[in-house]
């Protein structure tokens, strides 16, 4: 037997909405959360960062040493404008020197690793884990 107020349209609507909102019982987890956690990407480790900064430091040091050794003579640092201009001119010419070019390349690659972490990740991709989404 239904309650009397069910005969009014508004109570009918309320009853309908109540029935709709109560028609879904919460689903038990049943290990679902654990499966999601197991399929997440690996935790970010500190190792790539240390490697990146190590490469950057070593490369920058090596590149800078070679560049200074090749491009700037002791006289170039003596102070006069003419000498400075000559040193800069020598440096620009030395860019075409293979050894100077190699030094600059090492410095550039080191800076690239330092400033763009994604480059290292792209070169050394992490091992993929199965996601369990075989149907897709």
């Amino acid at each position: 037997m239904e309650p009397a107020d069910l005969n009014s349209p508004s109570s009918h609507d309320r009853r309908l909405e109540q029935a709709l909102s109560q028609s879904l019982a919460p689903l038990a987890d049943d290990g679902f959360s654990a499966r999601v956690l197991a399929a997440l990407p690996e935790k970010k480790s500190a190792a790539p960062s240390i490697l990146r900064y190590g490469l950057c430091l070593a490369g920058a040091t090596l590149g800078a040493t070679l560049a200074v050794k090749q491009a700037v003579s002791p006289e170039g640092l003596s102070g006069t404008t003419v000498q400075l201009n000559e040193a800069l001119a020598n440096a620009s010419v030395l860019v075409t020197d293979p050894r100077a070019f190699t030094a600059l390349l090492i410095t550039g690659v080191s800076l690239l690793f330092a400033l763009k972490p994604g480059v290292l990740a792209a070169l050394i991709p992490p091992a993929k884990k199965p996601t369990g989404a075989g149907r897709l």
């Binding site: 009014s8 019982a25 919460p26 689903l27 987890d29 999601v36 996601t131 149907r135």
Partner: protein, 179 residues
């Protein structure tokens, strides 16, 4: 006292806190899996696969969660996108029929006479009307949230809900003898 979603999200973003993410998954798994089971017509296996992908994608893009909508609504939006992609790949998507009815409806069919009649009446609605009813009443989403989630105009949401309720009223007229 359990921390709010936004605090757990902040912990995941700041320190990749897996325990915080596990809590988020545990909180919202039922809603997301119900939604995907509804969309996939009760195919629990497909729905759970899509739900898993939904949470993994949510984890990856958590930093882009702006908090404009609730976290639950954001998750359902991701789930809806995954389901649409899956449906595109499933050329032989089965139509709604008696054999593929929502298992939740089936499970609750005999919980009460009204629920049983309601489950039958819901099957008579169009796909979009069912979706609007599911989100609006069974998931408790506002009209605006439904519109954002499904990328429907707000008016379309209201129209689908109004039509769906009118159809349900007619199907369930026996429960309201004066109409």
């Amino acid at each position: 006292m359990t921390p709010p979603d936004i605090e757990l999200i902040a912990r995941v973003i700041a320190s990749d806190d897996r325990a915080a993410f596990a809590e988020l998954v545990h909180r919202h798994q039922s809603s997301v899996r119900h939604f995907l089971r509804h969309l996939s017509r009760g195919d629990a296996g497909l729905a759970d696969d899509l739900a898993q992908e939904t949470f993994i994608q949510a984890y990856r893009s958590l930093a882009r969660f702006r908090g404009d909508a609730g976290f639950s609504t954001w998750l359902l939006g991701i789930a809806h996108n995954y389901w649409r992609n899956a449906r595109r790949r499933q050329r032989d998507h089965p139509p709604l029929d008696e054999k593929t009815t929502d298992e939740n409806a089936a499970a609750t069919a005999h919980a009460s006479d009204l629920r049983h009649d309601l489950a039958v009446a819901l099957r008579e609605l169009s796909e979009d009307e069912q979706l609007a009813i599911h989100l609006g009443y069974q998931q408790g989403k506002s009209h605006r949230e439904i519109a954002a989630l499904l990328d429907w105009p707000l008016g379309t949401v209201k129209t689908h809900l109004a039509r769906a309720k009118e159809k349900l009223r007619q199907h369930l007229a026996a429960w309201n003898p004066q109409t």
